[in-house]
């Protein structure tokens, strides 16, 4: 294929600005997908993706387009994940492109992820085609949004395409712009093979399938290929393109996007961002930008019924086949028994995984409050990396602790600056920059501990700004912090799964609110249950759940007996959803209560 007739592009947008609908419309207009096969969000194949309107896995589709200049072009649409949890995957997908369509909702204007995605695309040297979506809506303000794009993003917007992904208006203009504005890929066909792996998935029959963009050289079936970062070698079983069904081709050459079937059975051998080359006479240098994906957020997953542990393990094994970022190791809790400490890219990733485990594998799980990875410097000189409060060493042995910080970018209308500042201060965030992107949008940059961001920071931000604020963040680095471990004791016994690590200035307030919150959540038992928050042996706060004194339905005559039994069964079912810790019955939500203590 002559690279002059190839265009590789991606669509980037803030969530809900219409990215998936636009992709659907492009596929439909170009006849890539027959009308009868059309479902909404074609590229989002998981139920959760469709329900939540988010993209989790990358996708690539080859579109044949007969342009106005009389030539037929191969347009490769690379669909990227749409959430900040998956920023690295997004960056690799963008690196496979020469251009990007920046979708901005013309009724809402530039949002935090618009800024973040646009700057990622600019860093990847992509040609950006701004597209103002939803212009069919009465609230559409194309002129104003154009101004925001030019002022806030420094992207010329006078030629921005006015479109409605819903009605199909402007799609032809967009396709022409893709052909005319986005440069054709450039590469050396005679150089050794260099292909960028921008995603991979596991096929039960064919093993690991890599999605690749060929930069130099070419790849074809039967060659022995290698992944440069992992050193994995394999025989290429098949190469092809997705239209969107897998369609084998003889070879993939310069500029082309397609799939490579590796036959490998271990997904961890094929990593996003790695460079694929030939095992013999391979490239000397890999493509830039590869890094190991590291989980940021950790939580314990425990089956409510202990005998579901093997099923949980199998389910995690299965999910991780298609999710290289999902890491887990066995964790044993006194309170919750055997489970796993699972690492995630972020909170959304965690929610998605939990939901899939429960839905697709029919597991009942307790998730403990998420935590981050701390670096604990011991007086002995040793450094521990811990991601569970359970592994927190004795306070006296600790020299100091560092916790991960993010640089968060918050976009809000000026009216809400004060509200954001209050919230940020409460969450130990320090402002590093603030600027007006336009008269209606202020960008506030904060350095914030990740541990604070996962305390439902985004939900609170949304509610305090009436939904106007948008948030994006990037990893900043580790910084020293005065942290301590707070334990929760039920009936005098510490419950490991309720412990958490907290800044010392907040220990008292959080401990105090948490025990009160737990008092609301934990039902009365047959005996009084004291709930205490303690740091080491020092009790910060204590409340008592009074003993249940009465629970009896006194009337029980002939016709009442079966009703009465049903009531007992209902009570039992209620208890089943609880976890017995010692002899105290605790509802599941208690383990997440720590997230709610700031309300």
């Amino acid at each position: 294929m002559d690279p002059r007739f190839i265009r590789n592009f991606s669509i980037i947008a803030h969530i809900d600005h219409g990215k998936s609908t636009l992709a659907d419309r492009i596929l439909q207009t170009t006849g890539t997908i027959e009308e009868r096969d059309m479902v909404e969000q074609v590229l989002d194949s998981m139920d959760i993706e469709r329900e939540r309107g988010i993209t989790i896995k990358s996708q690539a589709v080859r579109i044949l387009y007969d342009a106005a200049d009389g030539n037929t072009y191969h347009l490769n649409l690379i669909d990227t994940p749409g959430h900040v949890d998956f920023a690295y995957e997004v960056s690799r997908s963008l690196a496979a492109c020469e251009g990007a369509v920046l979708v901005v909702d013309s009724t809402q204007g530039v949002q935090a992820q618009t800024v973040a995605n646009a700057s990622m695309a600019m860093n990847a040297n992509l040609e950006i085609i701004p597209l103002l979506n939803k212009i069919d809506l009465p609230a559409s303000q194309p002129d104003h949004v154009r101004e925001e794009i030019e002022e806030g993003l420094a992207i010329p917007a006078d030629e921005a395409i006015l479109a409605s992904a819903k009605t199909g208006e402007g799609i032809d203009d967009l396709l022409e712009a893709i052909v005319n504005k986005i440069p054709a890929p450039v590469g050396d066909a005679s150089a050794p093979l260099k292909g960028l792996i921008f995603d991979s998935y596991f096929d039960a029959y064919r093993g690991v399938v890599a999605l690749v963009r060929i930069v130099d050289g070419s790849i074809s079936k039967g060659q022995e290929a290698a992944c440069m970062a992992t050193g994995t070698k394999f025989l290429v079983e098949e190469v092809g393109v997705r239209r969107p069904a897998n369609t084998p081709v003889d070879e993939l050459g310069v500029g082309e996007v397609g799939y490579v079937i590796t036959g490998l059975k271990d997904p961890s051998l094929v990593k996003v961002g790695d460079t694929i080359t030939l095992a013999r006479n391979g490239a000397a240098e890999p493509l830039p930008g590869y890094r190991e994906v590291k989980p940021m957020v950790f939580a314990g997953f425990f089956p409510i019924e202990g005998d579901q542990y093997p099923e949980l393990r199998d389910a995690l094994d299965k999910l991780s086949l298609n999710d290289a970022a999902l890491v887990y190791e066995p964790e044993n809790s006194h309170a919750l028994g055997f489970g796993f400490r699972v690492g995630f890219l972020g909170l959304l990733h965690m929610e998605v995984i939990k939901e899939r485990l429960e839905r697709e594998f029919d597991l009942d799980l307790i998730a403990t409050a998420p935590s981050v990875e701390y670096k604990v410097y011991l007086t002995s000189g040793e450094v521990l990396t811990i991601h569970s409060p359970k592994d927190y060493p004795e306070q006296s042995k600790i020299e100091h602790i560092e916790e991960p910080y993010l640089i968060a970018s918050i976009l809000v209308p000026p009216d809400f600056v004060g509200a954001v500042m209050d919230l940020a201060q409460f969450h130990r965030a320090e402002i590093s920059n603030m600027q007006y992107l336009s008269t209606t949008t202020v960008e506030m940059k904060y350095e914030i501990p990740l541990s604070e961001l996962i305390m439902e920071f985004f939900d609170k931000l949304k509610s305090r700004t009436k939904g106007y604020a948008s948030l994006d963040y990037d990893f900043l680095g580790y910084k020293p912090s005065e942290l301590i471990k707070l334990d929760i004791l039920l009936a005098g016994k510490p419950v490991d799964a309720l412990s958490f690590i907290v800044h010392k200035d907040k220990a008292y307030a959080r401990g105090n609110t948490l025990v009160r919150k737990l008092k609301e959540i934990i039902p009365q038992q047959l005996f009084e249950v004291p709930i205490q928050a303690a740091v080491g042996s020092r009790v910060l706060s204590r409340v008592n759940v009074k003993a249940r004194r009465k629970d009896v339905l006194a009337k029980c005559y002939g016709g009442d007996i079966s009703r009465k039994r049903k009531l007992l069964e209902k009570q039992k079912a209620g208890k089943k959803r609880m976890k017995a810790i010692g002899n105290v019955e605790i509802p599941q939500e208690a383990f997440m209560a720590i997230l709610k203590v700031d309300e």
């Binding site: 047959l526 249940r548 009465k550 039994r565």
Partner: protein, 405 residues
């Protein structure tokens, strides 16, 4: 026609009519004006139903009869007499039987008491609930304390066995109010008292009032205190608690209710009534035609098929049709254990060994109840509820019923 292997020892007639629905009531009853055609229709069915049961020999083993509701007295003297008369024709009612009728103060007249007595009723159970007008108003009862006192006087002057129902733990009900109600009742000569803590049932007016914030929620601590206070007060007057909610002077325990709690077969007629029998005997009940008056079309074969292999059958009659449940031997044993532990005498040693034979897990459940202080092991080998077991009954019954599954 097949005969029953174990005869019904108790007969329950449910009269599902009241002058009004009380604010807390979710019972099988409806408010209809006296003289309504619905009552005529109902009584006609009841008469036929009793006759059919008698003809099939289902009534020959009866030891007790209970006419409950609803408010039996609400249907009026002539209708009540009709039912009682048919009963007396169908079964030789002698003084050795316990024949109870429920009554509410607003519709209890001297004439009714006398006629009922003449037709064999020897025990009245009166829905007094409280002698505190404030409490009666909260409950939405149709009577005041004055009328209640008159009704009890009427009853005790004609009959030597009179029971009163009392509700405790009502919002705004003081300890003194409860004690005063009980002491007045004892003073008026009642021989049996049932004390129920108020339960707020979904869908009742009282539930809506509480949800609207016009009345506070039920205070479980106050209910516990009231239950203990009632026990103490009644015991001081010579009453013995023989069941979680039932107190009686010596020899005045309700034999009918005891039948429910000791696994004896009972026959229930009328919308809202339930029957319990050995599954083996279901054919005899169905063949009698006694239930045909209450359900449009009974799937004779379907029921027989479902009953096959089960140990115990319970049939509930409702306006919507007939509901049946079938218990295995194991489930029956657990049900008996649950009901036995509602009574002061608890489970005698002989019953324990029979029940644990049928369901071996019961032994561990009873051990757990002992450990948790919900039950106690007595010198004669029986197991009975403790003070804690009375108040936290659902814990205790739940433990044993769990063994069924």
């Amino acid at each position: 026609m097949s005969a029953m292997s174990r005869l019904f020892s108790a007969l329950y007639l449910h009269i599902p009519f009241c002058v009004k629905r009380c604010a807390y009531c979710d019972f099988a009853t409806e408010a209809v004006p006296r003289g309504s055609e619905r009552i005529d229709d109902f009584v006609e069915r009841m008469v036929i139903s009793i006759r059919r049961a008698a003809k099939a020999g289902l009534l020959s083993g009866l030891e007790t009869i209970y006419i409950g509701g609803g408010t039996p007295t609400h249907i009026g003297l002539s209708k009540l007499s009709e039912i009682l008369y048919i009963l007396s024709l169908s079964k030789d009612i002698d003084a050795s039987m316990e024949v109870t009728m429920e009554a509410n103060p607003e519709s209890l007249t001297e004439q009714i008491v006398k006629d009922a007595r003449a037709l064999g009723v020897n025990r009245l159970s009166i829905g007094v609930q409280s002698l505190d007008d404030g409490v009666l108003e909260t409950l939405g009862r149709a009577h005041g304390s004055k009328r209640a006192i008159e009704a009890i006087q009427l009853a005790t002057s004609c009959l030597d066995n009179v029971s009163a129902d009392v509700i405790c733990g009502v919002m705004g009900q003081s300890d003194e109010s409860l004690v005063s109600t009980i002491e007045q009742l004892v003073g008026l000569g009642v021989t049996h008292v049932s004390v129920y803590p108020l339960t707020i049932e979904e869908g009742t007016p009282l539930c809506a009032i509480i949800e609207a914030g016009q009345l506070p929620e039920v205070d479980e601590d106050a209910q516990a205190r009231h239950m203990e206070l009632a026990a103490k007060t009644l015991q001081a007057h010579g009453f013995t608690r023989y069941e979680v909610a039932s107190y009686a002077l010596p020899g005045r325990e309700s034999r009918h209710n005891s039948a429910y709690w000791t696994g004896k077969p009972y026959l229930g007629l009328g919308y809202g009534a339930a029957s319990m029998l050995d599954s083996y005997d279901l054919g005899a009940l169905l063949e009698s035609g006694a239930l045909d008056c209450w359900a449009e079309s009974i799937d004779f074969e379907g029921l027989q098929e479902r009953a096959a292999g089960s140990h115990r059958t319970r049939i509930s009659l409702a306006r919507g049709g007939l509901e049946a449940e079938f218990l295995s031997e194991r489930e029956s044993a657990c049900e008996d254990a649950m009901l036995g532990l509602r009574m002061s005498r608890g489970l005698p040693e002989s019953a324990l060994s029979r029940l644990t034979d049928a369901c071996p897990e019961l032994a561990a459940a009873i051990d757990e109840a002992l450990t948790k202080g919900l039950a106690q092991l007595n010198g004669d080998g029986s197991v009975s509820p403790t003070a804690k077991g009375w108040l936290l009954g659902n814990e205790l019954y739940g433990l044993v019923w769990d063994c069924a599954r």
